[in-house]
């Protein structure tokens, strides 16, 4: 890949990384506190927010998650955008 990435790519990605990080932390907490309904509520809020951000990201910058529809009918987008260690 020779094209360079926009500032927005990094900003949008970091927002997702932050929201997913909260999910990771809450998941580990809930693994040892499985009946904390307040934490479950927060987990669910962030889970929905993460889905929303990722869908918006993918429409702008290409696929993030395995298994989301390939929007371009002629080109397999999964292997078009750069890989995490390259960006």
């Amino acid at each position: 890949m020779t094209h360079s990435l926009s500032k927005e790519y990094y900003r949008d990605l970091e927002e997702i990384q932050a929201v997913d990080f909260v999910l990771f932390e809450l998941a580990l907490y809930l693994d040892t506190h499985p009946t904390d309904s307040q934490a479950i509520k927060q987990f669910n809020q962030y889970a929905l927010y993460s889905l929303k951000l990722k869908t918006a990201f993918e429409s702008l910058h290409g696929p993030l998650r395995f298994g989301t529809p390939n929007r371009n009918e002629k080109v397999w987008e999964w292997s078009q955008s750069p890989w995490p260690w390259q960006v």
């Binding site: 990094y10 990605l13 970091e14 997702i16 990384q17 997913d20 990080f21 990771f24 932390e25 998941a27 580990l28 907490y29 693994d31 040892t32 696929p63 993030l64 998650r65 395995f66 298994g67 999964w78 955008s81 890989w83 995490p84 260690w85």
Partner: protein
């Protein structure tokens, strides 16, 4: 099964082309207390641990693979475009003659990864105490790498990873408490 997301857990940056730091980071890539050892240790112990803590081992084990990818990214960026001469000056000539700049699962001293780094005793307490010790050892290793590194961007990523060891250790300590509870005893009354 696992599926892949095309993103790192944390935005990894490095400030300089510094293959010497890449050499140090190999301790966390293929070393005894590194991220590969951690991921394999926890995911393997899952099958014989009490049900109450399988979820925790699964989630932490999975996170360790995300950490492994961050370490790989750091090593990749620190050695990318480095010349054979730069790699030699960084003490990586021995690595280069076998691997070019390919990553490999060995420690900072070039010793290849071995399954003997990890334990699976089948005894839940023994295994969870091993996990707690592994997290503290990995935390210490991050500290010693930070002590050797003068790359502020790299240290930023290393501090993130060190902090994760603290949280994981906390959760494993809680897991010990969970499986130590005398729940069956309570039901009698």
């Amino acid at each position: 099964m696992w599926t892949y997301e095309k993103k790192l857990m944390y935005p990894v940056k490095v400030s300089t082309c510094n293959p010497t730091l890449a050499k140090y980071l190999m301790e966390q890539y293929g070393g005894a207390d590194g991220e590969l050892a951690a991921a394999l240790r926890y995911l393997n112990q899952r099958y014989t641990i009490p049900d109450k803590v399988i979820g925790l081992l699964t989630d932490i084990g999975t996170e360790e693979f995300a950490h492994l990818e961050m370490i790989a990214t750091m090593i990749y960026k620190l050695t990318k475009d480095a010349t054979p001469e730069q790699l030699r000056k960084a003490g990586l000539a021995e690595h280069y003659v076998s691997h070019d700049s390919a990553l490999f699962y060995n420690n900072a001293a070039g010793v290849p990864f071995t399954a003997a780094y990890i334990q699976a005793k089948g005894d839940p307490i023994a295994d969870l105490y091993e996990d707690i010790a592994a997290e503290e050892k990995a935390r210490a290793t991050y500290q010693w790498i930070i002590d050797q590194s003068d790359d502020p961007d790299l240290n930023d990523g290393l501090r993130f990873l060190r902090e994760r060891e603290i949280v994981h250790s906390q959760r494993f300590r809680e897991a010990v408490e969970i499986i130590s509870e005398d729940r069956d005893q309570k039901k009698v009354f």
